[in-house]
């Protein structure tokens, strides 16, 4: 598996970039979750800063709009004492015909240390990572339909906070799997962590045709799909990525696949409800469920900071033998 994404590792097999969940080991994922856990209480300290990235510069390079991901990356980097530069795609020189690689190399020439990249093209972060000098780190904050690995990590972190043992869990991912890089990363992460079962639920038009090869079962209705489920992950209907009539109408979609008090009853009584945001209220989830006591949607946002701190710290740390005991 590692050979598929060699650029993610250095010659010693240490994680250098964070581009995809695919090919990572269970130990790597667990290590990131454990360190993230020890970052959780930092948000409650008087001084919310630790010096792990002091003197380093992180660049938020978003070629697609984002609020929560960009903001939590920025806060995470600042809590690690990094300097943060936010580059907004619409104001950038890519609109003057410069390629994405020229843009990145230009910024790197200013001696920056880490890029957090979001782009509409699958593989963009990987392309950038393979063209930068060895000391520069790249984190994928979403590339096209491919992956959104840090979102998947904060999702599994949130699941672990509420349900201890992954091997007992049945998890349903509901909605637009076809256009969802979040779902793809989640499925990889949940499989690596050894969950008991993953089901995807949604209209067949929004499910990749090869979904079963990812170790996932497909169910086309909520009643059967949510039976015995411990964790429900709702996905956003991505209107901006729809290039055809993939859903009949918003009302009909909500009636068949929306999560409401009624459909939530199909799952286990203690099932938790997740959503990567932003929410389309009344399209994929009702307000009463999104704001209800089974929803951990805001916990996901809070956890995003600690998990992203952990991922950055993993990439930035060296690996020499310590002189200290």
């Amino acid at each position: 598996m590692r050979a598929d994404f060699p650029v993610q590792f250095d010659q010693n097999g240490k994680l250098r970039h964070f581009l995809t969940i695919q090919g990572l080991s269970e130990d790597t994922l667990t290590g990131i979750l454990d360190i993230a856990h020890s970052f959780i209480d930092f948000g409650k300290r008087e001084i919310k800063k630790i010096p792990l990235m002091r003197g380093k510069t992180m660049v938020n390079l978003f070629f697609e709009p984002s609020t929560r991901t960009r903001t939590t990356f920025e806060i995470a980097a600042k809590r690690l004492s990094a300097d943060v530069v936010n580059m907004n795609a619409t104001r950038m020189s890519t609109t003057k015909g410069e390629t994405i690689l020229d843009t990145v190399k230009t910024i790197e020439a200013m001696h920056t240390d880490m890029f957090v990249v979001r782009d509409r093209a699958s593989g963009a972060a990987q392309l950038i990572a393979s063209h930068l000098p060895d000391h520069v780190r790249v984190i994928n904050a979403g590339d096209g339909r491919h992956e959104h690995p840090t979102q998947a990590m904060l999702d599994v972190f949130t699941i672990r906070q509420h349900k201890q043992d992954f091997s007992k869990l049945r998890i349903a991912i509901v909605g637009d799997i076809l256009h969802s890089r979040v779902a793809r990363s989640q499925i990889h992460a949940l499989n690596i962590l050894g969950v008991r079962e993953i089901r995807v639920i949604g209209p067949r038009t929004l499910i990749p045709t090869d979904i079963e090869t990812m170790g996932v079962g497909y169910v086309n209705n909520m009643r059967d799909g949510l039976e015995d489920i411990d964790v429900i992950i709702m996905l956003r209907i991505q209107r901006e990525r729809m290039d055809g009539q993939l859903i009949p109408s918003e009302q009909e979609y909500f009636a068949r696949y929306g999560l409401t008090e009624r459909t939530l009853d199909f799952a286990k009584p203690d099932a938790m409800v997740m959503h990567p945001g932003p929410i389309n209220r009344g399209l994929e989830i009702s307000s009463s469920v999104a704001d209800g006591n089974r929803s951990v949607i805001l916990d996901q946002v809070t956890n995003g900071i600690a998990v992203r701190m952990s991922i950055m710290a993993h990439l930035m740390g060296g690996q020499e033998k310590s002189k200290w005991t």
Binding site: D34, I35, S38, I50, G317, E320
Partner: protein
Amino acid sequence: MDNTASNAIDNLAQQVVSSSIDDPLLIGIHTGGVWVADILHRKIGFNEELGTLDISFYRDDFSKVGLNPQVKASSLPVGIEDRNIILIDDVLYTGRTIRAALNEIFSYGRPASVKLGVLIKRTGRELPIQPDFTGMELDLDNHQQAKLYRDNGKLGFSIDETSSI
């Protein structure tokens, strides 16, 4: 308890008591410092539970050695604002652990004072940091390492030869 380690603990406890610090807050540094502080805490008696610090995130060699995967939680029982802190570690060597611990303490607030107690004060300081309370002193070369161990709740220490780095 190893006789030497046991004498050193008694020494340390004696000095902490005679310092008559007003309402001190005892904090141990993971892992060995917590073991020592735990014994002191039971011997002397304090108003609050023992505080613990894991200074992994404050180390100055992070960019070289990376994260310690076994980071433990830092836990302070109460706010430290305006408190008199007694910070405890097992071995004082380069002084870098203490520098990191002071930085971490100040991320929680501003204490009134901080005193340092160590079980073993050894040679090899790289920073201007000295203890206020000392269990015992050891004159060691740079290739020697004083290491505290705990066996069935009893503390002892060994002196090992380390390969030069």
